[in-house]
């Protein structure tokens, strides 16, 4: 089978676009346009860092390609290279790369009193503290940490602007989905047992861990990133 002329790969750092060696320009433009069109709602309005690698381009070709991408998203940093970017953690001094919230230890915090119900969304660039429950169908999105002083049953996205050090903590951590920075995890199928102790979720070694934050209360359990 012929190699695909254009392959998209989403990374924490933005979009990596692999352009097959030896593919010609009309072919590339057509394939890229098709992929962009199918991902249109996803890209719409987002600022995306673009890294092209694989085939080398003339300056004029680069401009044409970028114009195409700019129709679907706001390009952030743009790079053309011949080798793929390594995804090693070391290579990602993300605080420099991202405009992410860095007030994890100390910083802006929004307090929400009451229950976040289905269909409601709390979103804030700093940390968020919910004094109440987050019900299934409710969403909390924070640039920093998320603390729920109640049951967390909905969706929580901590470090939404890219900070992987963000944590999600709750008196009763039973989220439909848990996201930290670029990691998305969901609760294991079928297990609905209520954790009897407060827990905190964090990212370590590209894995999401959940453990009680009061020492000696229960054993460590881990979710697997999906």
């Amino acid at each position: 089978m012929k190699e695909q002329p254009v392959v998209f790969k989403g990374t924490r750092n933005g979009l990596q676009i692999y352009i097959a060696h030896g593919s010609d320009m009309p072919e590339i433009m057509e394939a890229a346009a098709g992929k962009l069109q199918s991902g249109k709602p996803f890209f719409e309005g987002a600022t995306v860092n673009l890294t092209f690698f694989g085939r080398e381009f003339l300056v004029e070709e680069q401009t044409r390609l970028l114009e195409l991408f700019a129709r679907y998203m706001k390009p952030g940093s743009v790079e053309f290279r011949t080798q793929p970017v390594s995804v090693e953690r070391k290579d990602l001094p993300e605080r420099d790369h991202y405009d992410s919230f860095d007030g994890i230890e100390e910083g802006m915090t929004r307090f929400v009193r009451g229950t976040v119900r289905s269909g409601q969304r709390v979103s804030y660039e700093g940390n968020v503290v919910i004094i109440g429950d987050v019900n299934p169908g409710g969403e909390v999105i924070a640039g920093g940490n998320i603390l729920v002083l109640g049951n967390l049953r909905g969706i929580a996205h901590a470090g939404a602007t890219g900070n992987q050090d963000a944590v999600v903590a709750s008196y009763c951590l039973q989220p439909t989905q848990l996201r930290i920075a670029g990691y998305i995890t969901r609760a294991p199928e079928g297990e609905t047992a209520k954790p009897p102790y407060p827990e905190v979720a964090y990212i370590r070694q590209e894995q999401l861990f959940i453990e009680p934050y009061l020492p000696g209360k229960g054993k460590q359990a881990d979710f697997h990133t999906t």
């Binding site: 119900r117 289905s118 429950d133 019900n135 299934p136 169908g137 049951n151 049953r153």
Partner: protein
């Protein structure tokens, strides 16, 4: 000055109309002056459940548009004095009236009645917005199913955004036998998620279907367990403290019966 209560749920088919008909009838039985408004324009049902379908001349939209006087659109119940129905228009849709018009209507009606009960349509769109516009209080109906509870939660959030911050909950169609087997959400789980006050629990009861089809609300039947539950809900709305029905005992009795019958069957075969 009366009280306007909207009965709503988000999800369809959980028993809003049945609940409206039964609570309204029970309040009338307790001597209150009650009007039931069917806000489900285009899909009217309340008149059928109340057995008043053939008496409709004017409806809610006629009254709001000034085609008739308010009083002309009110149908007096055939059984109870002090109970009235304002039917929905069937040939129009939810956009035929506005929240402001609904509010005005409720203001007028509550001067003449002790209770104005509004049967809300399913959903969260225009019809729902109309239904809650004039309400002083909300009753959220749900059944012990995950999807219905989700929708109820959404509705409670929307009610709060419209200054109806303390809705009360009616859990409808509870089957104790299934709860016992762990096949149905129990009341505590439901309340734990929704976090609002419980107004009442109505057991699943076949009589409800029979009586709805006949156009006679189940509250009028002394022996119906669901009827009893609705009578209790009405008393709680009047501020009385009424304990929840002990449904467990009902179940054990049913179980006894079932055992008895299954025993008989065995002997026969």
């Amino acid at each position: 000055m009366g009280e306007v209560i909207v009965i709503t749920s988000g999800k369809g088919g959980v028993g809003k109309t049945t609940t409206t008909a039964n609570i309204g009838t029970a309040l009338a039985l307790l001597g209150k002056k009650v009007v039931l408004i069917d806000a489900d324009i285009g899909l009217r049902n309340l008149d059928v459940v109340m057995g008043l379908e053939n008496r409709i001349v004017y409806d809610l939209v006629d009254a709001v548009e000034g085609v008739c006087r308010l009083k002309q659109a009110l149908i007096r119940d055939k059984r109870f004095e002090g109970l009235y129905l304002m039917p929905a228009a069937q040939t129009r849709d939810k956009n035929a009236i506005s929240p402001a018009q609904m509010q005005k209507l409720c203001e007028e009606l509550k001067e003449h009645f002790d209770f104005v009960l509004i049967d809300s349509p399913a959903g969260i769109e225009q019809g729902f917005k109309n239904a809650i516009a004039g309400a002083d209080k909300a009753v959220v109906v749900t059944v012990p199913e995950v999807s219905a509870v989700r929708d109820a939660d959404r509705i409670i959030g929307l009610l709060a955004a419209n200054e109806l911050t303390e809705p009360q909950l009616v859990v409808n169609r509870l089957r104790m036998d299934m709860v016992k087997r762990g096949d149905m959400m129990n009341i505590d789980d439901t309340i734990d998620i929704l976090g609002i006050d419980l107004l009442g629990v109505v057991p699943d009861d076949e009589n409800i279907i029979v009586s709805s089809n006949r156009g006679e609300p189940a509250v009028t039947e002394e022996n119906s367990m669901a009827g009893q539950a609705y009578r209790n809900i009405a008393r709680r709305l009047l501020g009385e403290e009424v304990a929840l029905i002990d449904m467990e005992s009902g179940v054990t009795f049913m179980e006894k019966l079932r055992k008895l019958f299954s025993g008989k069957n065995k002997r026969k075969s």
